[in-house]
């Protein structure tokens, strides 16, 4: 305890020196947390977008639908089933959709389009589709086109678009619809090709009355996805084709991409840790050398080397600990702010990221595990660096040192 007190006083004896070390630790934590937050945040952003627009966290679909997303694999969906699945604990909302690829034609132009038959109110809760409307509305019973698709077809509000394609079991799907809305979904892929009809209209178009392609499930926060999946699977008849898939099964490409990205990020992080580590080591090194005479004198007046070493260990760890805490306190508000305010990318960069199918924002993650893991790693590096003064004291030549 005495040693600890000594160490503490030593720190405040030379405030400037301590502050320098602490700030190097502080910035180390800040940097590490920030880097990891961006990494994770961008991944979380990708997952969030894909899940809310495409898959849901869980999804009811035909077992063959994933390999061949065809309207042939629609399944019947009625209010009774709806009620049964909505009653599963943890379910926040069920979002039924019927979707298929068709030709969309204006008078002069023809483009491929993905028609989604939706329930606008429920989509809103899932991905905020209503708020992405730039003109008109979803409820008038016409068709709502994504902005770029409308542009390509040369269509405006009130014009008529003809849809042509194949519906359920290869029946012909054909219909003419007035354009009653324009929407700008967040994902560039959707902006180029999506068109929205009310669920019932789309079912008629595709000759799939009472059927859906998929039912997306959004859970309450903190609900256990795997438990919900198991419970829902038990509700489905075992001999049927319909099954429950989770987002990890539904987005294997995305998971693989994230895995790959993580690997390269880890290399960057290791380099960052090395830089940070040597930064801390540098300050500790100069401080130790500075105190050569002090150490020499202490040993010559009878302080045991072991205790002296222990004291320096305490000092470094205290500095490290305080630096880490300060770093955490400093990074939390910054990360929290960026978490709420994703950084929009500049025009060119934004376009580039859109070409990759990612929306043009840098997202940050505020996952508590980031703070803990980064603080832990920096603290670990401090502990490693703390060995230097210990070894130095052990090998100190007392005569030379005290004369210096």
């Amino acid at each position: 305890m005495l040693l600890f007190k000594l160490a503490w006083r030593n720190l405040w004896r030379s405030r400037k020196r301590s502050l320098i070390t602490m700030s190097s630790v502080f910035f180390a934590v800040l940097l590490a947390v920030f880097a990891e937050s961006v990494n994770r945040g961008s991944h979380e952003g990708m997952i969030r977008n894909s899940v809310s627009y495409f898959t849901g966290y869980l999804q009811l679909q035909d077992s063959a639908y994933m390999d061949e997303p065809s309207l042939d694999y629609c399944f019947a969906w009625d209010e009774q089933q709806e009620a049964a699945f909505a009653a599963v604990p943890g379910v926040k909302s069920l979002v039924p959709r019927v979707q298929g690829f068709v030709l969309a034609a204006s008078n002069s132009k023809t483009r491929g389009a993905m028609v989604l038959g939706i329930d606008p109110a429920r989509e809103e809760a899932l991905n905020g589709l209503q708020s992405q409307l730039i003109a008109g509305n979803f409820e008038s019973g016409g068709i709502v086109l994504a902005d770029r698709l409308a542009e390509r077809l040369g269509l405006a509000l009130g014009d008529t678009v003809v849809l042509l394609g194949q519906g359920y079991q290869s029946q012909q799907a054909a219909g003419a619809y007035p354009v009653t809305g324009l929407v700008k979904p967040k994902l560039p892929e959707l902006r180029k090709q999506s068109a929205y009809l009310l669920l019932s209209d789309a079912q008629t178009l595709f000759a799939a009355e009472g059927m859906v392609s998929s039912v997306l499930v959004m859970p309450h926060e903190n609900a256990s996805i795997s438990q919900m999946q198991a419970k829902m699977q038990s509700l489905l008849s075992a001999d049927g084709y319909v099954m429950v898939r989770n987002w990890e099964e539904l987005l294997p490409e995305l998971l693989a991409a994230i895995e790959f990205d993580n690997a390269s990020n880890r290399i960057v992080l290791v380099i960052l840790y090395i830089v940070i580590g040597f930064g801390i080591f540098g300050t500790v090194l100069t401080m130790t050398l500075e105190r050569r005479k002090e150490f020499g004198v202490l040993v010559s007046v009878g302080m045991r080397r072991g205790r002296l070493a222990l004291m320096t260990l305490y000092e470094t760890l205290l500095l490290g600990g305080m630096g880490v805490i300060a770093g955490l306190l400093g990074s939390m508000p910054i990360v929290a702010w960026f978490y709420d305010h994703p950084v929009p990318l500049s025009a060119e960069l934004g376009e580039m990221s859109e070409n990759f199918g990612v929306d043009p924002f840098i997202y940050f993650s505020a996952d508590p595990s980031i703070f803990l893991s980064q603080a832990g790693i920096v603290m670990g590096m401090c502990a490693l660096v703390a060995l230097y003064p210990v070894l130095y004291v052990k090998k100190l030549n007392v005569l030379q040192a005290s004369r210096a």
């Binding site: 042939d72 491929g112 079991q169 290869s170 029946q171 054909a174 219909g175």
Partner: protein, 249 residues
């Protein structure tokens, strides 16, 4: 005199040897002439077989040479009156329920034609069996109880053929086209087409049933049965115009 007979018999042997290996181009030309007239009018039934359902369609078709053809759907009732028109490399689709003609964009050409195993491309691809390939007779084989030539066709460089190799079975006596196997880039079998049920169609005798099986899709199959046909009835080019699409019944 003896000498002369020897020469004669040698000559006969040589020519008969030659007869056993006729020109494959010639076989294919005769096969083509047999199945395709100047023009044709046909009634047919298409059955699309899928793992979980089967769909039947009845249709009538008119064609003129390789360039023009027109297909009118008669059944199922829901799709009745739908017309597909092929003019050279274009496909037009007329749908009565929306009363609109739509030209299929290039992006749709690889898509399935009316849910069958044929792609839109299959309908318009203008590869000539004779000019776009080099040919070789592989062997003789019996199909449908008929002695056939098996001819290997390798696409020439620069042709629009999508397969790396096509093998065709043609009957020796009547030049019926009885089977085709299409091979992909890695030499794998992509699809087979089997023709059978030889019968009289109009003024010709032809295989009346065609079964297309893609190899990469389990349980998928498309069967086309010709129920009636008339060949070489003159049809004017104007019949195959976009304007005429609406009038066909």
């Amino acid at each position: 005199m003896k000498r002369f007979t020897l020469w004669l018999s040698l000559l006969l042997v040589a020519s008969s040897l030659h007869a056993q290996q006729p020109d494959p181009k010639d076989i294919l030309r005769r096969m083509e002439d047999k199945s395709r007239g100047e023009s044709a009018e046909m009634t047919m039934k298409m059955t699309v077989v899928r793992p979980r359902f089967t769909r039947e369609m009845k249709m009538k078709s008119w064609s003129k040479g390789q360039q023009y053809s027109l297909v009118l759907l008669q059944e199922p009732v829901r799709d009745k009156g739908t017309v597909f028109l092929k003019r050279q490399k274009e496909i037009w689709n007329y749908v009565p329920s929306v009363d609109r003609m739509i030209k299929l964009p290039p992006s749709m050409m690889s898509q399935s034609w009316m849910g069958s195993d044929f792609s839109n491309d299959d309908l318009v691809r203008e590869s000539s069996v004779i000019n776009d390939y080099t040919h070789k007779i592989l062997r003789s084989e019996t199909k449908e109880g008929l002695d056939c030539w098996v001819i290997e066709m390798l696409p020439k460089a620069g042709s629009s053929v999508v397969y790396s190799k096509v093998v065709v079975w043609v009957s020796k006596a009547d030049y019926y086209h009885l089977r085709t196997e299409n091979y992909g880039d890695k030499g794998e079998l992509v699809s087979t087409m089997v023709m059978s049920d030889i019968k009289k169609l109009g003024n010709r005798t032809l295989p009346s049933r065609m079964e297309l099986t893609p190899m990469d899709k389990k349980g998928h199959k498309t069967i086309m049965v010709y129920e009636a046909a008339q060949f070489d009835v003159p049809i004017s080019e104007g019949f195959f115009s976009v304007q005429n699409l609406k009038n066909i019944r």
